[in-house]
Symmetry: C3
Subunit: 123 residues, 3 copies
């Protein structure tokens, strides 16, 4: 889970807009977005470990496995979390709660480059 909150804030500042909605979109089906507690890393570790137990690799039911045992679990974990997220802003700042961080969640084990698209609508 990679926190992208600051990078979203930078994009927002560059837009020059004061208030509106910022939309983040993840262009992949093996990674996803989640807005999660950003204070104590143990919350994110427990979330990831729980999801790993819910969707274990090497499930013998999976047939879509040609990219490896983490291929199908990555799609399922993506489907259970989010591809797009819409975050309000005012006075040029994201109105996230005190403990909220925006995370890009890579579900494959190997390193991949991921693209997020950020769109800002407002005035």
């Amino acid at each position: 889970m990679h926190e992208v909150t600051n990078r979203l804030q930078v994009v927002l500042k560059e837009s020059g807009l004061g208030s509106g909605v910022l939309t983040v979109f993840c262009r992949h089906t093996s990674c996803s977005l989640v807005i999660m507690e950003n204070a104590d890393p143990s919350a994110r570790r427990d979330l990831a470990a729980w999801l790993e137990r819910l969707v274990p690799a090497n499930d013998p039911h999976f047939t879509h496995t040609f990219e490896g045992p983490d291929d199908m679990p990555s799609h399922i974990k993506m489907a259970l979390t989010r591809t797009s997220e819409s975050i309000p802003f005012a006075e040029g700042k994201l109105l996230l709660g005190a403990w909220q961080g925006v995370y890009l969640w890579e579900h494959r084990h190997a390193a991949h480059s991921c693209q997020l698209i950020v769109t800002v609508v407002g005035e």
Copy 2:
């Protein structure tokens, strides 16, 4: 699960806008949003009970437990549902389906105050 549909409709009416998209955003990581059947309460009860069985408190794997046994389950239940939801409107009314209600879902057992931010974009 607290229905907030009417309060969203009030905010929409106050905006004076006719058509566009209303975005609701939940500023917390232990509660979330879901658009669920609003006719028969048994559907919401069954959903909540199912999620409670999927993510039981007192799971011995959890390490993030200093706020109590419902701390980590609340984050997981949030991650499996939604933090933001975008609802279209026309002629000043939300275009929800006949059986759809918008719910704020508090996953902690103790009472908390929750903040939702509503943004209306349209004309």
Copy 3:
């Protein structure tokens, strides 16, 4: 799972807008949206089969069953996926990733008609 990507692209073209955000909204609580791999159908089959194992019909805990054994599972599967999705576009084209398709996911077994509302905001 019915792919609606092309139909969204048609609506976008008809809007005449160049860049912005397209929002899709599903007006039902027994079907939902998911942006999933559109290359190999086995990925969608495995996802659907996994979710069927997670939320089996005939779970004896369910009380909301008067529309049949697939009534309550359809609501739960909806709650675990998405009711709204926001997709950016530029130069009149949806900025989906190379392997992303937008799917309407009907969770009931009998045929139903489903309504999606598409809203386009941009310039």
